[in-house]
Amino acid sequence: MTSAPAPIKAKLRIGDLVFSRSAVFAGSMILVTLAAVAVFLIVQSIPAVVATTEDASILKTNFWDYVGPLVFGTVWAAALALLVALPISIGIALFISHYAPRRLASVLGYVVDLLAAVPSVVFGLWGIGVFAPALVDAYAWLNEYLGWIPLFSGTPSATGRTILTAALVLAVMVLPIMTAICREVFLQTPVLHEEAALALGATRWEMIRTAVLPFGRSGIISASVLGLGRALGETMAVAMVLSASPVITFQLLTSVNPNTIAANIALSFPEAYGLNVNVLIATGLILFVVTFAVNAFARWIVSRRKEFSGAN
């Protein structure tokens, strides 16, 4: 009878130890930070959620009536922005990765990245000073000829500072990050798959459809999520461009527009006192939850067809 040999222990090396501990530390920091923000938001929000108009002057009735239009406006503006930005950014990314001559492609890449470096306040100024006035005529035209579509009905705004303008400005702002991610993913498409499609007699567009886009699908979704996240949280540009009222409406062209959570916080905070501050923080909590839900949804989409992802 022999006793089982003692398990062999790997020798502890100081470098391994330092690296593993620092990795664990960095990894846990993200959780700690997130938890700290969540705790702050929740603690500060509790008094606001149960408050009435007597406690906080900012509320007309109760908290939920106050935050409802804001949530709607936030999601509505961000969704519109994404709707506009996604096809454009995929188009730009495809042009850079598969159509443009190499030199033009790198120049374009720089230009797009440069767009990402423009501060949001500048976009706000541009939106309010140039873009909104320029859109007034286009809105009048849309309203006149396509007014039978509920989206374009109502009296068009005379200033152009509508939710559609805000969404378009947001679209321009999220375009660079989305384009950059799509471009990187499209460039990663294995040449093997592109050639497989071409050798079957695919045209360039068919090659992109059979090889590049399916391969880039998860990247496109990630790009959308990042873009949407930025659009949901964008504050300055929306606060400057949009002339807002507490309503829920799908009409895009009128002067009565729902506000977004972030812009509302920025606009209302300087004058807020007492429980009104808590109300604004509570709307921040709601934004946090909405963004979280969007992220979770996107992750779920990506994981749904995991075995077809090409990662195996």
Partner: protein, 259 residues
């Protein structure tokens, strides 16, 4: 279904670099032709000129003529997309589309160019192509599973099924077995034997036993040195190339004295 290929004075370039020079050869229909030669001698490059896949690489171009049944592939009016439908290709590494199921992979080429195909026709074609590629029995129960879940040899046969599903006239194979184990290699070689009843097959291989096993004719390519263009040294019946070649370099190569 199969066609005769004739190549006349073909020069192949990567930008300014002349990669293959002055190739003349004729490939008979329903035969297997093997291209052998040391690495970098231009045999794969030359193979890719036969279905205009060479020009996919930026800067790559071709001078000369490739005639398939008398029609020049490099005529200015010829659409490379149509050429590639007639001349299918199987690559060195198996490359089924990872986002598609086995069935979708087989149908990938058929569904291009907005062609519609009825469900029953599609199922028939899938079965016929997979049977043609000797894969049907192994995958018939999992046609909706991803193609990337198959073994390397099965993936390569899936690629062959995908190529024959569009009913090409010629099938080009660029070292189709170099990433496979001996058993899978044997399966592919048997398949090539079957396919030549219907198709003209051109295969590039580094494996001289493979060339002697599967091919009717063999072309030996060589280069004088690095940076020099590759040339077709000798083209003859496979038995002649391997037993009684007329050029010394060929004999040195097939007898393993270099390369």
């Amino acid at each position: 279904m199969s066609k005769r290929i004739e190549v006349r004075d073909l020069n192949v370039y990567y930008s300014k670099f002349l990669a293959v020079e002055g190739v003349n050869l004729a490939i008979e229909p329903r035969s297997v032709t093997a291209f052998i030669g040391p690495s970098g001698c231009g045999k794969s490059t030359f193979l890719r000129t036969l279905n205009r896949m060479h020009e996919v690489i930026p800067g790559a171009r071709v001078e000369g003529e490739v005639l398939i049944d008398g029609n020049n592939l490099y005529d200015p009016d010829v659409d490379p997309v149509l050429v590639r439908r007639q001349v299918g290709m199987v690559f060195q590494r198996p490359n089924p589309f990872p986002t598609m199921s086995i069935k979708e992979n087989v149908l990938a080429g058929v569904k291009l160019n907005n062609k519609r195909i009825s469900k029953s026709d599609a199922e028939e074609l899938v079965e016929k192509s997979l049977r043609g590629a000797n894969l049907w029995n192994e995958v018939k129960d999992r046609l909706d599973r991803p193609g990337s879940g198959l073994s390397g040899g099965q993936q390569q046969r899936l690629c062959i099924a995908r190529a024959i599903a569009v009913s090409p006239e010629v099938i080009l194979m660029d070292e189709p077995c170099s990433a496979l184990d001996p058993i899978s290699t044997l399966a592919i070689e048997d398949l090539i034997e079957d396919l030549k009843q219907q198709y003209t097959i051109v295969i590039v291989t580094h494996n001289m036993q493979q060339a002697s096993r599967v091919s009717d004719k063999t072309a030996f390519f060589n280069i004088a040195g690095t940076g020099k263009p590759g040339n077709l040294i000798e083209y003859d019946d496979t038995t002649t190339i391997f037993s009684n070649p007329s050029v010394q370099a060929t004999e040195d190569y097939v007898s393993g004295r270099f390369g």
